[in-house]
Each structure stands twice: as C-alpha cells, then as structure tokens.
C-alpha cells in the first residue's frame, strides 16, 4: 500500500525564554498508509499536537523530513505549503474553529474558495457535503445557532471541501458529550471505511482510540508505543 504520510526523525523545540527550551518532538518516525486510521495518544505536553501541526503543514520541523504522499513538505515555502494544506489536508479541531460571523454553508464554502474553487462551485459542494453530514436544514444557521455536534459536523464538511488525501482531527470529540461524540466518530469511521479517507486522530480517549486501526502513544516528544488492531 502507498504511504499517505511519512515522518523521518522529526524534531521540534520551542523557546519559552532566552535560555529555556522545550523539546516538543525529539526524533519522530511515523508512517501512515493511505486509507489508514491512526490515533495519536498521550498526555498533555507529550508532543501530539505539535506532531499533528507538523504532519499537517501548519508548522515546520527543526530537523528531519516530512512526506505527504510523494511530496516532501518540510522544505516548502510558506506559499506552497499553504497551497498544499488547502488542497490536500483537512483539519478538524477540538473547539470546532468555525468563523462566528458566517453561516454553516459559508464556513464550509470558505475552504473551497481558498482551495481555488469559484464561489458558485464552492457553495454547491458545501451544500452537498452538509447534506451528506445531515445538515441540509441547518446550512443557513450561524455557529452560535448550532449544537456542538452540528458545529463539529460543519467543521468536518469544511475539512472535506477540497477532497484532501489526509484528514487530521485534534481531539474532535473533546468538547462534546458522549452521545454526540459517538455520532461524530461514526461519521469519521464511515469516511475512513466507505471513502478510504486517511485519518490521523489526536485523542485522550481510549474508547475513541479503540476505533482506530493503529494506536501510537507519545511521551515527552517520543513515540513510546505503536499498536495495531488485531485483524486489521
């Protein structure tokens, strides 16, 4: 199977003050096959969010290499990295991160616009995606008028706008009750199983991690354990 994502000996440190550094990633090697569904687990400060930012092209490593399918992305200019991010990677965040002044439809279509679609094409596709996620009736509502689960489904629709090859979700159910969490996870698993979408999920929740084929556990900037689901 081809690789969707590959990280080779990736390091990243943050400077907190003049002589105080945090080594967020201390040499990460990770390969994600196309169509895989991987959970990144670990305590706060273990480096899992930093890993997701670098894998998703939101941040660059200090050293090491990051490959997205056949493209090496850690050396790309900001402009090219942005273009790649908009067309090939979808993000879903814990706090939904929808723009409050826009409707569900506008929030979704915005990603299409940034990905180079015409306004009309973006609006049409956004409508289709929202319908697919059961939000056809709610598309003209603003985030403040939607429940947490609905907002996260809008965020998923937005992440799918440009048909990404990789979907990254940072604690996608972190702000949701257990019933709604279940609904959102059902959607994500469906996307993976039925549409072959490669998923990288950052989560604290072992129950959610258990839905993934592979579980990667991080501690102090290192991967300390990788488990594959039996039978997959």
């Amino acid at each position: 199977m081809s690789l969707a994502l590959q990280l080779e000996n990736v390091t990243r440190h943050y400077r907190l003050s003049a002589d105080n550094y945090v080594n967020a990633l201390r040499g990460i090697d990770l390969s994600v096959e196309a169509g895989d569904m991987v959970a990144i687990m670990g305590q706060s400060g273990s480096g899992k969010s930093t890993l997701m930012h670098i894998a998703g092209g939101l941040d660059k490593p200090d050293s090491g290499a990051v490959w997205l399918e056949e493209s090496r992305i850690d050396k790309l200019s900001d402009r090219r990295l942005t273009a790649l991010r908009s067309r090939r990677i979808g993000f879903v965040f814990q706090g939904f991160n929808l723009l409050p002044q826009m409707t569900a439809l506008e929030n979704t279509a915005l990603a299409g616009k940034y990905g180079g679609m015409s306004r009309r094409a973006a609006t049409r596709r956004a409508g289709e995606l929202l319908a697919l996620l059961g939000l056809a009736e709610r598309s003209r509502h603003r985030p403040s008028e939607l429940s947490g689960g609905e907002q996260q489904r809008v965020a998923i629709a937005r992440a799918l706008m440009n048909e990404p090859c990789l979907l990254m979700a940072d604690e996608p159910t972190g702000n949701l009750d257990s019933a709604t969490s279940g609904e959102i996870m059902t959607e994500l698993v469906r996307l993976n199983r039925e549409h072959g979408m490669t998923l990288l999920l950052v989560t604290h929740d072992p129950g959610i991690a258990a839905l993934c084929r592979r579980r990667v556990t991080m501690q102090d900037g290192l991967i300390v354990e990788t488990r594959s689901k039996v039978g997959s």
């Binding site: 942005t82 723009l99 002044q101 990603a111």
Partner: protein, 388 residues
Amino acid sequence: MQTLRSVFRRKARAFLTIFGITIGVLALVVTGSVAEKLQLLVDGGVEYYSDKVIVTDGSTFAGFGMSPISSEVLKDAEAIDGVKRGSVTLNFLLEDDVQTISMGTPPMVEATDFRDVGVETFNVTLAEGRDLTKNDGGKVTVGADLVAQLGAEVGSTVTIRGREFEVVGIYERTLTAPDSTVVMTLPDAQELFLDTLPEAVAKGLDKNALATSIVLFAEDGVDPDDLVKTVLKELGGSYNVQGPAGFKEFVQEPLQIFNYLIYTVALIALVVGGLSIINTMTIAVSERTREIGIRKAIGATRGAILRQFVAESAVIGLLGGLLGLGLGYLIVEATTRSEVMGATQLFLLTPRLAFGSVAFSLVLGVFAGLWPAWHAARLHPVQALSYE
C-alpha cells in the same frame, strides 16, 4: 458582503471610525467647494483680463476702479500705438451698504458706452429676453444671482438706487462676476453714480464724462502686458494701468495660497481620520488573531489575509468618503440656496472635487489598512490558532 459584515461586527467602533473619515471628507468637500468657486471666479477674471488693459484713476487699487476718471482720457488712450479700441465703463456698488459679507464679488452696476461691442470676446449668454443696446435708456439686464434679490423678470420693473428700470434680459448663470451684475446704459449709470457721490465732489464733475475705468483692447499680436508700459508712458503718472499680469499678481496668486491653505487643513483632518482607521484595524487584527489562524489552517494564503483586511479598511474609507460627500453636498446645497437669495453663490461642488474626495478617502483606507493587514498576514498559523 462578507467584508461589510466583518467591518460592522463591532458596530460602534466601525461607525466611529467611519465618522472620523466622514468629518475629514466633509471638511474637504466644503472648503474645496469654496476653493473651486473662487477658482472659477478668478479663471473668469483671468479670461476677461486676458486681452485688455484697464486704465483707472491713480488712487484705485489693482484695476478695481471706483474713483471717477474722465472719459475724455479715452481719446488720448485710443491714439496710443497698439490699442485697437477703447471703451468707457462705469462700475459701482448696487447698494451703498453691502448687507452680506460674501466670498465672491459684491453686487455691482456696470455700464459701458457699447464701443466694446464686436471687440469684447468675453460675452455672457442671455437666459431670457435680449441684450441691452446703446439706446436702451431706462432699461437693464440682470445677472443670475440678482434675479431673486431684485425680483426681476423680463418686462418687469426693478428699483436700483431709488430709480425704476425695465428689465429686458436676464443672464445665464456663469458662476463668475457677471452673475452679480446689473448692466445699464452709460448715461443712466452716470446719472445714478453722480447721485451717490458727496455733493462737494459731484459739483466739480462733468456728468457726461464720468467713468470709473477705460478698457483698452490690444491690437492683434500686441501683448497687453507690453501695452501697459506704453499706456503708462503716454498717459502720464496719474493713472493706474493694469494688464493680465497685474490681475494674476493681485488675485490669482493670493488665491492659490488660500487654496493650498484650505486644502491642507482638510487633508490634515483626513489624515487624522486615516490614523483612526489604522488604530481600528490594528485592534481588529488583534481581536481576530484566532480567526486568522483558522483561515490560515484551512488554506488562506498571506495574500488572501492581506486582501481581506485591506478590503475592510478600504470599505471604512469608502463609506466615510461617501457619507462625507453626501453631508457636504447637503451643506453646500442648503447654503447655496440661501446664499443665492442674498448675494453671490459661495460654493461650487465640482465633479472632480466629489470624485477626488471619495477616491482620496478610499486610497487613504487602503493605505491605513496595509500595516495592520501585513501584520495579520504574517501571523504564524499555530500561534494564531492557540490565541485565546
């Protein structure tokens, strides 16, 4: 639409910032309208004086002759080399006490001996009725600004300095000096003028030789400014002789300084408005750091973020400009309407001023937005996303 929504997300702040620009543009439109009107008035004067030399009594200033001069001078003047034709004119105030202080020319009575007909190139078109001729004793033509004040219409009778005259024509509005002028025949004017002079002065004057200036038309190919020197030499030192250069020196140049001054004041008001846009946009960028992070995460380029914030800033400038122009137009219109009743029109809101004011406020908005927008565009997506 999105841009408008973003601008008005903080309504009070948006309105206050827009209002700052509005005040600046209002100042520019109103003062600019005065400048445009004065410019037109002076341009009219420049055109009028461009081909002639004005001879007045030595005690008058810059060719605006009010002290009497004898029309006998005409004969000597016309004999001078380079003079094509001479014409006697008599000008005086329509009323002794000018009621309103006006930025333009005061209402005047003007009369000539009609020797300038066919030589004078500066002619005012009639809106109604006919032009005055030499034999129209007891008749007048009236400038557009004085129609309401005198209650003039063609065929009606108006009272000027206690004497009744029949109106035979009304001039079209020129926005220059002829708008506030009543034209009558020279004998009528001489009689009226004599009545205005103190008895002791009037006694020694020959009514039929009474004039305030002699207008000399230069022959084709003769520079009127060169003619001034010749006329001065030939007529002797007791006359004031002015050509086009003299008018420019005394009127056009001071006007230019005045224009620079009022435009500078208005532009300073606008620049202050521009600073308030920078302030507003800087606060907006800081408040919307997280939004910028989200936009970047879903694929917004630096250029897209830059354009978004510059567009918002430009909208503030444009709305402020349009509002300022609208308010300025209302003020100019209202004042013009009331002003015309009394004396000369004070304002002239020209298309170039209207367009220029709005365009300037738009450009100001764009420039004021550049720095905050550039700052927004350079935010790191991860840091912006984690901003609370």
